[in-house]
């Protein structure tokens, strides 16, 4: 894993400091965010925000031809204190965290029938996680979910995605003042699934939001994890892990909008790739607006390419409109599991498959520990082993 960039991958990034930029990170797109799908032109693949995505594999989610004929089984298991409601689009909480940012998630917003709202009352500290299981049973579906955590409440929400589907969805997290919310979203789809979603968190005053995005499955997965701060003192930790196999397209497009003073954000995404035409895309846009004095932010993306034929596009982007910050940085690196490393380990008696496992577990291990959820830790490491075994065959 020398810090070199293998053929067929790009690792470019930019830090812009000083002048307010004419086109902030999030605005280098073909249309402004909107709730209405009609405000977005049908993409042709040359747009900045679509240039990495295989449109032909989106099954019409992007051009209005995908009719919601499919079925999705959603089950929520929650401790007693939590309320689960089904509401329609006029509910004031729906769309509160932010507008959809691309045509597919706007399509989801325009097309969903009912939204579910999961609420944790204020001052309530949950001792058990809320589990939302989303199981695809084929066909096209549009979804909308809101997780609302009241002031000074604390909750862990696990969002599990399994099965086969063509799903476009919005998930909103409304984190009340002083509240703490951890969200784990696992994309463990069947290899045929298509999943495009925006996960937007609105972080309240002195609130903490932790997001863990884990993407293993799917034919195409394209996620927009986004953070906006409603008031000062908010913190966001965004962790991600992906394991991109042969033929899979997994795209994570993060945006953190520091428009409020004295907020903190930390991003760490790591991905392993193996197999022909495995394609991982990571976009990390962080914008520190002029008003956001005292901001502290860092973002990191690392990729480990295990075989030939895989491709990584990693683009960190940090734009800073004020000098009055605590810190801002980014790092992106794509390394290969080199033949020399394999030789070194094997020359110590270690079998090739064990050598690979040692290196991949090592690569993810530090991040998994940083996530700080012991239950999840074991599940993730076990899953990583399974992914590796599938590849060896």
């Amino acid at each position: 894993m020398a810090e070199n960039t293998p053929a067929g991958s790009t690792t470019d990034g930019a830090i812009t400091v000083g002048q307010p930029v004419e086109q902030p990170a999030d605005a280098r797109v073909s249309a402004a965010p909107s709730y209405d799908v009609a405000d977005f032109p049908v993409p042709n693949g040359r747009e900045e925000e679509w240039r990495f995505t295989p449109l032909e594999r989106l099954r019409g989610l992007h051009d209005g031809t995908a009719e919601a004929t499919g079925s999705l089984r959603v089950e929520v298991t929650a401790p007693e204190a939590v309320t689960v409601q089904t509401v329609d689009r006029t509910d004031p909480r729906v769309g509160k965290a932010g507008k959809p940012v691309d045509r597919v998630v706007a399509q989801a917003f325009s097309a969903f029938e009912k939204a579910s709202v999961i609420s944790v009352p204020k001052d309530t500290v949950l001792t058990e996680p809320v589990r939302i299981s989303v199981h695809g049973e084929g066909g096209v579906a549009y979804g909308h979910q809101v997780v609302e955590v009241g002031a000074f409440a604390e909750a862990v929400v696990v969002l599990d995605h399994t099965g086969d589907t063509t799903l476009a969805a919005n998930v909103e997290f409304l984190v009340g003042d002083g509240a703490k919310l951890t969200v784990v979203s696992v994309q463990d789809w069947a290899d045929t699934a298509v999943h495009v979603a925006q996960h937007t968190a609105l972080v309240g005053r002195d609130a903490s939001f932790k997001s863990v995005v884990v993407t293993f499955g799917g034919d195409v997965v394209r996620l927009h994890p986004r953070v906006v701060y409603g008031a000062t003192g908010g913190e966001a930790d965004l962790f991600g892990l992906y394991f991109t196999d042969r033929g899979q397209h997994q795209e994570h497009r993060l945006f953190i909008d520091h428009d409020t003073p004295h907020c903190r954000s930390n991003v760490a995404y790591k991905g392993a790739l193996q197999g022909q035409d495995a394609h991982a895309v990571w976009i990390g846009d962080v914008l520190i607006r002029a008003a956001a004095e005292g901001t502290d932010t860092y973002e990191l993306n690392r990729n480990l390419v295990l075989t030939d034929g895989a491709r990584v596009d990693s683009v960190p982007n940090l734009e800073i409109e004020t000098g009055e910050i605590v810190g801002a940085g980014h790092a992106s690196a794509t390394g290969r599991f080199e033949d020399e490393q394999l030789f070194y380990l094997m020359s110590r008696g270690i079998r090739a498959e064990d050598a690979r496992r040692l290196v991949v577990r090592g690569f993810f291990g530090e991040l998994v520990q940083q996530i700080g959820l012991p239950d999840l830790e074991e599940r993730l490491m076990a899953k990583i082993d399974t992914e590796l075994e599938a590849a060896v065959g």
């Binding site: 380990l345 020359s347 008696g349 270690i350 064990d354 290196v359 090592g362």
Partner: protein
């Protein structure tokens, strides 16, 4: 008794779209308990010999045989060779980010010994071996070879030698880049392993310096891909005085 027999070994590498023969018929027998120094100028093929014995995929064996107690080493994969008892201390050890020294050592000891060492005795064993090599315990938590100084890399190689207890140890320029203190510490490590009498050692070096600490039974001069002269320890003294000139074609340095 472990015996490594190399007979008429011929090896090529692919470089610049051409096949280049590096080893041109190497003959050598190393028995358990013996130490053979292989000395030769840069570029003569010493590392190629070491890598070929360990099975590095870049080197193609085009002729000859290598056996360990009659078993065909060339038919074995890299990891099989190591489990059969061949150990190569590399001239340029490789960085393995994300994998700690302690995890690496335990994984390789488990592989080579055929079972996981008992945790309690293992911890003690590693601790003692590290103390002998003047390595700080915090070393075990670092990633393999990542950010190691030249001296630390070589100590880490010899640490593995002590823990894996091979029957054939190939040390490729373990002395290069070491200051006198480090050379002494590393040599003492090699000698501890040799004292057990269970290892046959192939000590590859460019300089005679290390031979003050590690006394060879045999010295072989390597030039242009083969052994051109063999003798006892006194041959090293001759090399010390005269250098390699007389062995290199036309007297020019390679």
């Amino acid at each position: 008794m472990a015996t490594l027999e190399i007979h008429d070994l011929r090896v090529t590498v692919e470089a610049d779209n051409a096949t280049k023969e590096i080893l041109k018929g190497v003959d050598l027998t190393v028995k358990q308990g013996e130490t053979h120094a292989i000395m030769g100028p840069n570029g003569s093929g010493k590392s190629t010999l070491a890598y070929s014995l360990a099975g590095h995929p870049k080197y193609t064996v085009t002729g000859g045989t290598v056996t360990l107690d009659g078993e065909d080493v060339l038919a074995m994969t890299v990891d099989e060779r190591a489990r059969a008892g061949v150990f190569l201390a590399m001239q340029y050890p490789v960085e393995i980010p994300g994998v700690s020294v302690s995890n690496f050592l335990r994984t390789s000891a488990t592989a080579v010994r055929g079972e996981a060492p008992k945790l309690r005795t293992w911890v003690k064993e590693v601790k003692e071996a590290m103390e002998h090599l003047h390595m700080d315990p915090s070393f075990a938590e670092r990633n393999v070879n990542e950010g190691f100084s030249g001296g630390e890399k070589k100590r880490h190689e010899i640490l593995q030698l002590e823990l894996l207890k091979p029957s054939i140890a190939i040390l490729d320029e373990t002395d290069s880049g070491l200051d006198v203190d480090a050379l002494r510490i590393v040599s003492e490590g090699v000698n501890r392993v040799r004292e057990n009498g269970e290892v046959g050692t192939l000590l590859i070096t460019h300089y005679t310096r290390i031979l003050r600490y590690i006394k060879p039974d045999f010295v072989h001069v390597f030039s242009a891909g083969r052994i051109v002269e063999s003798g006892g320890a006194e041959l090293a003294d001759k090399l010390e005085e005269e250098g390699y000139e007389s062995y290199v074609k036309g007297g020019a340095a390679a």
